[in-house]
């Protein structure tokens, strides 16, 4: 995509890519293709593009994977639920224009942002998602990659108006939700080619889990990853730490935590309601 495209050819390229990725993502209900409105009076009015009706006869809806993005689930606070419902409306409106795919910490994404300091105005970055945080409109995710031997992490806001495209090149989960330990791991585990081609993934069934255990650089690390509060399963501790050090780390274990009733937050019923609401609104 280095050629200087006119807006028309860019739209055609977008359409082609969407059709090529058809098998990956069935739920392309809104395309980000704007129609040229040759208006005689004033600036062109925004007419929403016609929605392509995709009838998938191979799989039933029940077998599709139900995924609710974690930023829709409200935190456990004393806020009025009206605030969350209004925020959700804004999020759904944004999702109708920009397709935000399903991804987890450990998936490899390519993100295109508008950047005023670049010639062609667009800035593409490929990386592994190490963390998804934030609730509501301020949800963010961090992509990590090693460029020319230098590790680079960029924190993107999912609902920022500067986001143009989010593509999932490889959808997979890892053994942990938070992969911040990749900073202290060997750089080979964080390098990904910018020209990586998207890998086909299934939309039914479970997300593939990568059981990779990462080798670490020698200590000191940025955080003491062996301590039980981080609960990391994706590091090969047997190569870098002695059993005595592992036992010493267990001193910081808090065995009462799973029984702490004040920390209980059962989101199953909330999730179902929100999932139904989001999918109904996205279909409109």
């Amino acid at each position: 995509m280095a050629a200087v495209c006119t807006s028309r050819t860019r739209q055609m390229m977008g359409l082609l890519r969407i059709l090529r990725n058809f098998s990956q993502n069935e739920r392309l209900l809104s395309t980000s293709v704007l129609r040229h409105n040759v208006a005689s009076d004033g600036p062109p009015k925004f007419t929403p593009p016609s929605k392509p009706v995709i009838i998938d006869k191979t799989q039933k809806e029940a077998s599709l994977r139900r995924f609710l993005s974690p930023e829709f689930i409200p935190p456990r606070q004393r806020t009025n639920p009206v605030k969350f419902s209004i925020e959700r409306k804004d999020m759904i409106q944004r999702r109708k224009v920009l397709n935000i795919p399903e991804f987890y910490a450990g998936s490899i994404l390519a993100v295109t942002m508008t950047d005023p300091h670049v010639n062609g105005n667009l800035n593409r970055f490929v990386g592994i998602c190490i963390q998804r945080s934030g609730k509501g409109l301020g949800a963010t995710f961090i992509l990590r990659n090693v460029v020319d031997g230098q590790g680079v992490e960029i924190c993107y806001e999912l609902y920022s108006p500067r986001m143009r495209k989010i593509e999932v090149l490889k959808l997979e989960k890892r053994l942990d939700d938070n992969l911040m330990y990749l900073r202290d791991a060997l750089p080979e585990y964080s390098t990904f080619n910018f020209d990586m081609q998207p890998v086909h993934y299934e939309i039914t069934g479970d997300v593939p889990v990568n059981l990779l255990k990462v080798k670490m650089r020698p200590k000191p690390w940025s955080k003491r990853w062996e301590r039980p509060k981080f609960n990391i399963k994706g590091i090969r501790f047997d190569l870098c730490l002695t059993p005595e050090m592992m036992e010493h780390a267990q001193k910081w274990a808090e065995p009462w935590r799973p029984y702490d009733m004040l920390k209980e937050y059962d989101t199953s019923s909330l999730e179902e309601h929100i999932f139904k609401e989001v999918h109904e609104n996205l279909r409109k």
Binding site: L34, F46, Q77, R78, T79, N80, V82, K83, I86, E87, D90, Q93, R94, K96, V97, L98, T114, P116, N121, G136, L137, G138, E157, Y159, S160, P161, R162, R164
Partner: protein, 324 residues
């Protein structure tokens, strides 16, 4: 009352023991369960009736509405702080915004110039609806006169004479337009007894290099022998917070007319779900943005249907095509 009469005859100071018998009961102490639930139902129905009565201000002898003039002051609102949210401008800058919801805001009383302070008229405005059962009679009387359900918070707004409104009119979030500037007053979060570093922002002392038991202390209390005293108003540790504070010059980015929500730039004093007083900004540099507002207030008479969301020109709206 038992008076100690013997002692008073002797001329010694009279020690009077005043015996009081507490006659406070709570509202359903002497009621049966049926009566209590009936009362609750009746009260909710009454509130609904009262609010619907006041929805059309044109019906019952409204006061005359004047046009906005330079230098006239209009009423404000009482709102509930819901929470905070990010908002993006068309150039891509991210700002944080507080959401204030206007729940059941009614004008409750009008005080003329002579009654109030001799200079300006005043309007008392009430906020969220609450149950009448745990309030004293005197408090509920004001609301009965206005024909309005009892409110949790009452505030006075100094108002110019051309902006007075009849008691009982409801106030909505559309009273403020996007792009104007407001001042928000609320009770700050109480922090309890706090030291001088948190309360006044003192720098304290270094953590090491020989400091003996002195890391967060105020240090010197003032000059030496000449005044030989500590001046009044010296900043010292004490109770912090739980006082009324105002944030001036906050921009209104967006107004939601369906749920009556104002999106106000930056942060606002008070905790979540606290009641907050919002009024037009008095900062001289922001007077230009506050010109030609809905005067004296926004009346939902039905002839003008406002869209569900009103945005400022700078705000990036999510349904619109992306800029640049």
């Amino acid at each position: 009352r038992n008076n100690n009469t013997l002692l008073s005859c002797l001329g010694a100071p009279v020690i009077q023991c005043i015996r009081t018998h507490r006659t406070n009961t709570w509202w359903d102490e002497h009621l049966t369960e049926d009566n209590a639930s009936f009362l609750k139902k009746v009260v909710t129905e009454e509130y609904k009736q009262q609010t619907t009565d006041k929805l059309n201000p044109l019906k019952d002898e409204p006061w005359p509405r004047h046009e906005w003039a330079e230098g006239s002051r209009r009423v404000g609102l009482v709102a509930v702080k819901l929470g905070m949210m990010p908002v993006w401008s068309k150039s891509g800058e991210r700002h944080v915004v507080t959401m204030l919801q206007v729940q059941d805001c009614h004008v409750v009383k009008h005080l003329s110039k002579e009654e109030y302070n001799g200079r300006t008229a005043a309007l008392i405005v009430g906020g969220k609806n609450i149950s009448p059962f745990h309030r004293p009679e005197g408090y509920l009387e004001v609301f009965r006169n206005a024909g309005v359900p009892p409110k949790q918070k009452l505030t006075t707004f100094c108002v110019s004479d051309n902006a007075i409104i009849k008691p009982g009119t409801p106030l909505y979030a559309a009273h403020f337009c996007p792009g104007q500037y407001v001042d928000v007053t609320a009770k700050t979060i109480g922090k309890g007894f706090q030291g001088v570093m948190k309360r006044w922002g003192f720098k304290g002392q270094p953590a090491s290099h020989g400091q003996t038991k002195t890391h967060r202390r105020p240090g010197s209390l003032g000059p030496g022998g000449d005044p030989a005293k500590v001046f009044k108003g010296k900043k010292m540790p004490g109770r912090m917070g739980n006082i009324y504070d105002t944030n001036h010059g906050l921009k209104v980015w967006r107004v939601n007319t369906k749920y009556n929500i104002l999106y106000i730039n930056g942060s606002v004093p008070g905790h979540r779900n606290c009641l907050v007083k919002v009024r037009d900004s008095i900062l001289p540099t922001r007077l230009e943005n506050n010109k030609n507002p809905p005067f004296p207030t926004f009346f939902a008479d039905g002839d003008k249907e406002l869209p569900e969301d009103l945005f400022d020109e700078d705000v990036f709206q999510f349904g619109q095509p992306m800029p640049e």
